[in-house]
Symmetry: C2
Subunit: 424 residues, 2 copies
């Protein structure tokens, strides 16, 4: 007779996470890798700029470097007349100062000539073709003089030295997860190598006598191993490295051996337990025996996913997940993904979501968080979320879902037409 | 003198994309890969189930398989008494039918005995320890009889054959992008290999005499190549393969040669043009000469990023991006990422975003879409978006941004306190 049902001390997801996260620390292994291959990796150290960026004053527009004072009061009706002293070519040192009454043609990114303190956009000037050329012009197309139709303020359209980054300044903190723009920023600073956190190793064990490898054809009563692969992909997506320990038969000694090996070799361990009560009881005992302090949470008020175990075994977080795939994935999103991020020491990113209107009523029980898979549909009047109903054991059905709708613990279901937040 | 400014026919981002997308078709190269390694890849064919899933009737809960009729009218005060005929073990065929007045102990995932048509959850039963045992029980803990305190309907807590997937049914369409759950679903169906779209090859050329490789120390007036690496990472993130053609000097013949090679070898080409007007004019002419129909869009009403070129050269989309990194990234997000997705034939996913309140006023000009980088901050009263102000040439500054706020074309800025959608 199943006795364990009575032993459940069901926790809310928030309380359960609080109990676990108090024990989690970033791993200490780091890797030195090419910045060009660092997309998605997490900085292991603060990134300090060894240079001023930009290293010289640059124009942010195409136009004319001027002394701002020369343009004060300029209007289309009463423009300021300036002689063009030359061009500031790209990629070259510009060291001839400009004088009052002069302008120098600059490109976006050109160095600003000494004594110039602003740039007038080319759109706010017009060439004076008949004006006298004060000097030999380096490029045929540059006029000898211009009329400026609008005043510029000091510093306008100029990027100052160190405006983007300063020598010794902290550019990004450890724990920052590198995005495409960040890769560019690091290249701008000359950081072609970067020290990132190693990927936390997450050991994954499938258990259950009815479970067979996916390449085999199941006999009646058997099912293919789904969880090991879905969880591996989730761990990988979160920035971890999945280590699969195969399918462990319904044998306590075998499970203890495999779980013990995973605990020694990995930074976290997942037991995707057989879904029957007796398997769950066995997982609970095996997890409890892996190391101290042992089981922290047994039972979470979430549907699907109630029979969840969270434990710490000698510094290694251990998860006992429900056997059925949809439940296992909900619980893994709630606890395994944030654990991988915590092991990476990664800054917590806001969860990606969209706002949509609910197409149908969704029932829920107060006192429990429900996670309802939904399909998103763009209609003439905006985005709608259509619940993908199905029992929690369905997995293929979830292919049709674009995201998950959370019905909070204190809500008694949601009405059709309500605006809801859908996690992608 | 810059003549090209007059040639701009500035398009809205929507119009510009419509002109380009009309020419885009998915590439024809596919790859047959291990499903376990297919995370993030795009299905090249419809996925058809070759099996019924589940293949047998399964219980979705721990409890007792019964004939529903036997439980009608059952209440805690007047429970239905059923004798327990045995257990349905996991992973085994159960072929003994049950009779009226009988119950069989089933685990979550157990096969349902013939003639049973519902499962009562164990929580809604209680054992009758003194009842007579009708047969030898396979497991010591199972009671000889139970009282059922609540009626079940026909089919309740049973997963029917084919309820998750049916033989010959389409499980997912080509163009579907594979997520962790999908990897699991494919394993459940025995699809350990999968045909996915090859990664579209995107050629990336940096141009400009002032641009040097990131491993070099820039002299005054020089800048490191940022765009090639930031764009490569963006292309990779979108599901493409970046092919870098290096830094091309400011020489028309060299640019024509490199762009022509990239057009022949790749599925799309990006010219990260030097940012000066003369470079832009040269890129425009080189792109126009790459193949028909040539330039479709020259100038997009977006800040930053106005001087953007979109073209088709003999079937290959070609992008002329602004030279400054922040502008190049905004434009690449708008046009290059959706182009890679279109070349993959990928279903359009809703853009990941969060709702937040704006911490400061943001000015904008009507008639132009503004993209403002923002930092997200979780305060006691929710999520706030703090604009990261900076000139569009800044790149390191963008490390502090968590996402981008779009100010629509018809909006005249946004007020502090307004609810805004931030794309991550």
């Amino acid at each position: 007779m199943p006795a364990s049902a009575e032993l459940f001390t069901v926790r809310t997801p928030g309380d359960a996470w609080a109990l676990l996260v108090a024990h989690l620390h970033p791993i200490t292994r780091v890797e030195d890798i090419d910045t060009a291959r660092a997309l998605g990796r997490v900085l292991a150290t603060d990134l300090v700029s060894s240079e001023d960026l930009p290293a010289f004053r640059r124009s942010t527009v195409d136009g004319y470097a001027v002394i701002a004072h020369d343009t004060h009061g300029a209007t289309p009706g009463l423009p300021a007349l300036l002689s063009v002293a030359g061009e500031a070519p790209m990629g070259q040192i510009v060291d001839t100062p400009i004088a009052l009454g002069q302008a120098v043609w600059v490109h976006t990114g050109s160095m600003i000539p000494p004594d110039a303190d602003a740039v007038v956009m080319v759109e706010h000037t017009q060439p004076v073709s008949s004006g006298p050329a004060p000097m030999d012009l380096p490029e045929a197309g540059i006029p000898a003089a211009i009329e400026v139709m609008r005043p510029v303020a000091e510093g306008e359209n100029i990027l100052q030295v160190g405006e983007d980054a300063r020598v010794g300044g902290i550019v990004a903190r450890r724990g920052h997860c590198l995005r495409p723009t960040d890769i560019g920023a690091m290249m701008a600073l000359g950081n072609t190598r970067v020290t990132v956190m190693a990927r936390p190793r997450v050991g994954i064990l499938s258990t259950g006598d009815e479970v067979i490898p996916p390449e085999q054809v199941p006999g009646i009563g058997q099912v293919r191993d789904v969880n090991a692969y879905a969880l591996s992909a989730l761990v990988e997506q979160a920035g971890g490295e999945a280590v699969r320990y195969g399918i462990i038969p319904d044998d306590r000694a075998a499970l203890e051996r495999a779980a013990g090996q995973a605990r020694r070799e990995c930074d976290a361990v997942i037991l995707s337990a057989g879904s029957s009560v007796s398997y769950r009881d066995m997982s609970l005992e095996v997890i409890q025996g892996l190391g101290g302090p042992g089981v922290l949470v047994h039972g979470v008020s979430v549907k699907p996913g109630k029979p969840t175990i969270l434990a710490m075994a000698d510094g290694v977080p251990v998860f006992g997940l429900p056997g059925n795939p949809a439940s296992a994935m909900v619980v893994a999103e709630l606890f395994v993904v944030p654990t991988v991020r915590a092991l990476l020491g990664a800054a917590v990113a806001p969860r990606a979501s969209v706002l949509a209107r609910l197409a149908r009523n969704v029932a829920s029980t107060t006192g429990r968080e429900d996670f309802v898979p939904v399909r998103l549909e763009t209609r003439a009047d905006g985005l709608w979320a259509i619940p993908v109903f199905g029992k929690s054991n369905l997995i293929v059905t979830l292919l049709r879902a674009d995201g998950t709708l959370r019905v909070a613990q204190d809500e008694n279901g949601l009405q059709a037409g309500a605006w809801v937040t859908v996690n992608l």
